[in-house]
């Protein structure tokens, strides 16, 4: 295991958090959309993260490319998929709305702005943490280059 691998792992974290930020932005942008191409209001999307399994008995030889057959080249974390939140849509009474149904209710996306914003802040913090991790790895690698001089 080496510091380059550490950076790859952190990069996977950065990538995953960025995907999450994108999804959050999408949710926020579409939080008032009552009419989508598929019909009905926009449904909140949620990314699901999954950890790349860490196999502790691997020796150093197996940690570097070329990877042995069957060995997952992914590192750290990955987005397993982007799922739809099956939470109920919000029912708002507004008979004057063009998308109001017979009883005057409009279905709005199941996006809660407050939740999205707090998720956004958390995603930002996690992103920053991974940036710090990259810097730590870089610092160690740079220091290692100073061995001998």
């Amino acid at each position: 295991m080496d510091l380059i691998t550490s950076m790859e792992i952190s990069a996977s974290g950065l990538s995953a958090q960025r995907t999450r930020l994108n999804i959050i932005s999408q949710n926020l942008a579409n939080s008032q959309v009552t009419r989508t191409a598929e019909g009905g209001p926009y449904r909140r999307k949620v990314p699901v993260f999954s950890a790349v399994p860490f196999v502790s008995h691997l020796t150093r030889a197996m940690d570097t490319p070329p990877y042995l057959p069957g060995k997952d080249p992914r590192r750290g974390v990955y987005v397993q998929g982007i799922y739809q939140d099956n939470e109920e849509f919000k029912r708002v009474y507004d008979p004057s709305h063009p998308d109001a149904d017979e009883s005057g209710y409009v279905l709005f996306p199941n996006v809660d702005v407050v939740t999205e914003m707090s998720n956004l802040i958390q995603a930002s913090r996690s992103y920053e943490a991974n940036v710090t991790a990259v810097n730590a790895s870089k610092s160690m690698a740079t220091k290692a280059l100073e061995i001998g001089r």
Binding site: M1, R75, V77, Q122, A129, A136
Partner: protein, 132 residues
């Protein structure tokens, strides 16, 4: 006489410690990458006790023994570096704790490098002076 005894136990320890810290950095990076992964439990590396045991002459879990007599007789077996890493479960990841682990690991690694350099520098000086 000979190059075999140039590098003492402390040097080997420094090397082993550095090796462990690179591994730790890997694990901490992975923990941070998975800080928002549901049901994820962090992995850590227990090495300081392991090295202390080695220093006191205890036996570390599987060391690479020189089993083949055909192996180079001049190659020094390194009792520390090749010991199997002891991984431990550190529980759900707390961002702040993990960040401080990252910082500590970084600082200690840099310290090891500096100390190793001092040792090497001393050796070189001694050799240069003795060669006069």
């Amino acid at each position: 006489m000979g190059a075999g005894n140039l590098f003492d136990v402390t040097t080997n320890l420094l090397e082993a410690n550095m090796d462990r810290r690179v591994r730790s950095n890997n694990l901490i990076s992975r923990n941070l990458a998975n800080v928002d992964t549901p049901n994820y439990r962090g992995t850590g590396l227990e090495f300081e006790k392991q090295l202390a045991t080695a220093l006191e002459g205890g036996v570390l879990p599987p060391t690479l023994a020189r089993t083949d007599p055909k192996h180079m007789p001049f190659e020094q077996p390194k009792p520390f570096s090749h010991a199997a890493p002891q991984y431990k479960d550190t529980g759900p990841v707390h961002l702040d704790i993990e960040m401080s682990r990252l910082a500590e690991n970084n600082i200690m690694f840099n310290a090891m490098v500096k100390l190793l350099n001092k040792k090497f520098e001393k050796l070189r000086t001694v050799i240069t002076e003795a060669g006069r």
